[in-house]
Symmetry: D2
Subunit: 420 residues, 4 copies
């Protein structure tokens, strides 16, 4: 039997950023195979042309080397090179029946973990081994739950198929899209997604959640012409003038009467030296909206502003999507089923079918849920409560590990009920 | 014989802005005919499609009515309706010969004349009758000199043709272009232009001048979509956002290593009310440069910025030229001839062939001079010194009237020498 | 007995913009006196230092002259000169008791009324006599109802005091504030405000309304230094650069997580000529929010942006409030009382205590209601349904006149019930 | 005897960026001491508080380690730690007399040297050992000349004192200022500065140069408050909004009628992630002008714009000077003396006292020359011609090494003539 605590702490000690989960995903592949699952991963589980927000080549390579040094199975990891860290394990039950899927995310955050002694991972010796990398959003817990579930279901005593989806790069809402576009969700009848924490206290569970925003993350690049600022300023095409103009106009996009929106130019970088007309600039922009159509309209307007800011200064430009999400509409049957099953588990003292999660922002499990629903299936995104010593994405974030076994039990019950 | 002082004071009392010189031009037509000149005027002397910066229809009509009330000959003025106030008088000499032309400008400025008693027009009773209109750039004097010259040459004792060109709307560098494009300069072999004052003291004369800048004046209009700022801001297309963006980017155009340039957005107006997304905006922009090519490049860049500022906010836009000038390159032979002839006239104590006039800015006589030169002729722009109590375009600007007869004499000598 | 239809049509024919309701208010004063009310008006009813968004002096004077020509009583109107057109009529009942007040607005809009024959005022011959002025928001009806109510209550058969408040300049949310600051509401125990139309159909009545936004309208003025754009651009301090910078940064103010906000720079004007560095600029800005604190924070940020945009270009600046409103929180007792009383009146077939009015934007009756509530009284803002051929503020806006007598009856019932 | 070619090639192979000339300066200290000079260096030769544009600590430390690995004398280099790489060698002659100084710059550029076989350093095997670092402005030659001169004068056969000034960080016009403020120039009566190349052909020499611009390089930092862009955008203070506003307004600074100016925002960087309101931003700005007063005015305006852009968004900010220069006015006596002495040297076939160098931009030797002149001395900046295969700062830049010995000879003659 897996020791869930030990497994979670091992993952916590080795956090890996989005699309570099080489060690984590290799371990997932190894364990799923051990439990009898048929496993596909790497480019078989992700459409390469749909990958959003892939890190630079050097970053991928350094992370890959680190993973090997930290014990990743080289035979497995080799197929993940270049950032293809998605894993899908499938197990057919002893009888025919529908397909139920569970989705888990594996990536960590670019945060340096606290060294305060009150911080449990520090006190208990499983703090991140890598400065600047930390599991500060519970994905170590999520992956652990997924593997615990895999083990429990390895008896194949169900009527249908279980599909366990381990997703890279949820942070930045990047990784789900390429898995959906590879068809990973196309045979799924029922999909359960979950998150630990989210301002819901230990013992409480929400069978669904609402309030996730549609969002798009864009990277824009401007290219002009460098020139000496003293001797021939007029020969330059100033990329920073274009980018600064785009920034101010993007920030000036109007409020929408159709509902809440958000706009942010989160990064702007350009130019090389005091005496050179800036040749290049780069921006990262985020749009959000409560509805997908408005978010698409915001994206359209952002792209138009960028195109004309470039044209104004005779710059070349390109814009690419580096992340995205859509709102989540949970299937009420699954929400209620989740609340019902939780009643049978010690430790869940408060079960709600309908939850409201305004604080999480965006989730790219949304693409998976919608894909299943579009094809006639059902999906939900549950919140499993957990008292947090510090907010998500904080250097002192931590989970209560007692939530892990009961979460595994809940998912097992949902799987068996669905495939009864 | 014309009383030059009285004539100048009559013109001074009745200042008329550019393209509304209905009274002034009617008087010019009448006197030229009286002196035996063949006169063409109105649309016969100006290409309608080339007119730049024409005032609004209501302004033209009100000025026309005022001119009639002030004694303009209705039979003459009727042909000038709509702003066609250019006049050209031609007189053939008793013998064949080349054509010499002189150019005079007739328009006043939108300035309210001083009521200080030290201001001669106030003290002597010929201050402008109209608040907000004033001859503050000596064009009343120029027109007077032109009519004085017309009278002197009415004896036709010369070999060739004299052409007297009375131009509207020099202020804003607007009126010359349409006369050139009507072909008014195409038969001219020698062209003399002149200005009184210009920081040159009484008694001094410059046979030529340098330093006039190429310039373009543009009007840009933006049209978006109005919308209620509270209930549906996203339905508006904000014309002021486009215009403000254009303004900042036009002002950010680079210095040129090719020589001095100037950029100004002189006017910006848009929007109607606090709670309406602004539907329209209007800008007036000016470019200047020491060379014509750079000025054209500036104009090209300004137009590009405007087009993309509009496109950025999905606005319609249009840009039109409302004024323009090019540098003046005087023919040295005429510069020297002018200096030589001035030596024969009492009152001109200091004669220079080559002058430098950096302070005047731009002059649209430049189009006339270049047209003559392009067709193989010669042209110059002389400065006739005159002590000024206040700078050009100042409410206390005034000229010394003794300069008028000697200027007439100088031009007469130049005409007779050229047509000897 | 007043002929309400005739009275409303007379007012409709003579629309007067905010703070220029000289004829309307004079008529109100005259009729209130005729009905036995004690009347205060002019500066006795408005605190001069609190007047927001007063028109220019010339506008006030021209409107005053127009009002006299249109029959305003000169003896009455003389005390309103300068824009002091507020009127308050008070009538004590035969018995002691509390004070109930009703508020009516009198001003028209800067809109040219339709000449379509389907437009009833055109067809019936009471279209506005003045182009560019129109009662397109039912204030002619409101004033008529107020005067009808005044007549009905002139029997003084009630226990307490009736106070009828006729407010200038509701458009632009300008006029109420100065009346509140003059103490006009300080003795009021119960306040009823009302509006006709507002997307509520004829026969329906809402005893209260919600959704009015807090709002501030600001005018900002920038003053720099003019300079010739060709000869000494560096000597100018460019007011339009400051204003354009302010505009882009105001439009870039962030969304608030506390609730919906709105921002608009509705007007920007500056500069005089192509070749002059712009010396002055003027902006009109509007902020809105669902809560007053956020609106105050928006106003604070707008002022800070303006101050620093001015400082950046070494401009002087001033900002003044030209309008404002706060949210309305209706007293539920009055809402219910209104719905109850409406049940007794033929023509009101659908009575709701609680209404939601998201489309109206802002109302400065909000200051009056809050003042009454702050001092322990109660207030409400009711909506009296009325089918509209065109939206509020539209050239074809019109009301159904049958709503006038039943509105008078409703208000009379509320007055008598309150002062029973 | 020093082998000048070998010395120059050794320096060329080991280029060191400004303030990291640890190996170069250590070698200079060692040789000067070997030749009998009294040497001061490190913080004894530079005022720490006046150092402009010092690299980051990590950069300094890495460069220091590299220098030690490349053979820098650790005992000498230790006193240069932290970027204090200035060296001054003084030698008193056998007789009393005035002090003549020569200035040489030692730093390289952040350019990767060409690997083309036509590029002599590549072909001859002395290409830079370090990618991204290159002597592409002849400072390797300058340092070589300085050391050659040191050796020649080691006989002390002159009446007075020779002072050899080896300056760090001329690129970015950074290093001279701290040496001047340490008083290094205060006892100098005559100062000769020189540059190789500068579009002057081999064999030609200019005893002076003109056209260097006053310039200031500034670094501005903005600090706001980060906040989640989705859940609480209003809690952020957006540093990039402030920086983009500063950029557009700095670029909009007016032309000056007093002479040519230049403005450039060469670098802008800020923000961390798509979903975070940007907390910090950094800009690098350059001003230039033909006269120092105008450059100071530009700097003042830039600082004002930055302060108000920060204030507008409630950001903290700081601005520091990271480089600067003033115009150079050469003493004509020294210009003529240089031209005269060059006539005695084979290889200098064309000697001009007065040169015009418009293409170089700015030079911080200007501070040294002015300091000497302020205290009653004389200074000049000569150009020693040299045919260049590619422009200054180009990856294929190179010098003709035959110019080195004749340059040493010229400076020796100037030293001996001055101290005769």
């Amino acid at each position: 039997m897996l020791d869930l605590i030990e497994l979670r702490r091992d993952l916590h000690r080795h956090p890996e950023l989005g699309f570099t989960e080489f060690r984590t995903a290799s371990k997932v592949v190894g364990l799923l195979r051990q439990f009898g699952y048929e496993v596909i991963y790497g480019q078989d589980a992700m459409e390469p042309s749909s990958v959003r927000g892939l890190p630079e080549k050097e970053v991928l390579e350094a992370a890959y080397e680190r993973a090997l040094r930290d014990g990743a199975d080289p035979a497995i990891a080799a197929h993940m090179k270049g950032g293809y860290t998605a894993v899908v394990g499938t197990l057919r039950g002893v009888q025919e029946g529908p397909t139920v899927a569970f989705r888990f995310d594996m990536d960590a955050l670019p945060i340096t973990e606290s060294t305060e002694t009150r911080h449990v991972p520090q006190a208990e010796g499983f703090r991140s081994l890598y400065e600047g990398h930390m599991h500060a959003c519970a994905h170590d817990g999520h992956t652990t739950i997924g593997l615990g579930l895999a083990e429990r279901l390895s008896d194949r005593q169900f009527a249908g198929t279980v599909k366990l989806i381990f997703q890279p790069a949820e942070e930045g809402v990047r990784g789900a899209y390429a898995m959906v576009n590879k068809g990973m969700l196309d045979d799924v009848d029922t999909l359960f997604c979950q998150h630990l924490g989210c301002d819901v206290p230990l013992g409480e569970i929400h069978g669904s959640s609402a309030g996730f925003l549609a969002s798009t993350k864009l990277e824009a690049r401007f290219r002009g012409v460098a020139s000496h600022a003293g001797s021939s300023p007029e020969k330059g095409n100033n990329a920073l003038l274009g980018a600064a103009t785009a920034l101010l106009n993007i920030q000036s996009l109007p409020r929408f009467s159709t509902g809440e929106t958000r706009i942010n130019v989160g990064v702007l970088e350009g130019g090389t030296a005091a005496n050179i007309i800036p040749e290049t600039a780069r921006m990262i922009i985020e749009t959000r909206s409560v509805d997908e159509q408005t978010n698409e309209e915001l994206e359209r307007r952002v792209r138009n502003i960028i195109a004309h800011s470039a044209g104004m200064h005779e710059l070349e430009h390109e814009v690419r999507v580096i992340g995205g999400a859509i709102p989540i509409v949970c299937s009420p049957e699954l929400a209620e089923m989740t609340a019902e099953e939780a009643q049978h588990i010690e430790g869940f003292v408060n079960q709600k079918a309908m939850g409201q999660t305004s604080s999480l922002g965006s989730e790219d499990a949304s693409y998976m849920i919608r894909r299943v629903q579009e094809l006639g299936g059902k999906g939900t995104y549950m919140i499993i409560g957990c008292d947090l010593p510090a907010p998500h994405h904080h250097p002192e974030f931590d989970i209560q590990e007692e939530v892990l076994p009961r979460s595994v039990e809940l998912l097992e019950r949902l799987a068996r009920r669905t495939l009864r």
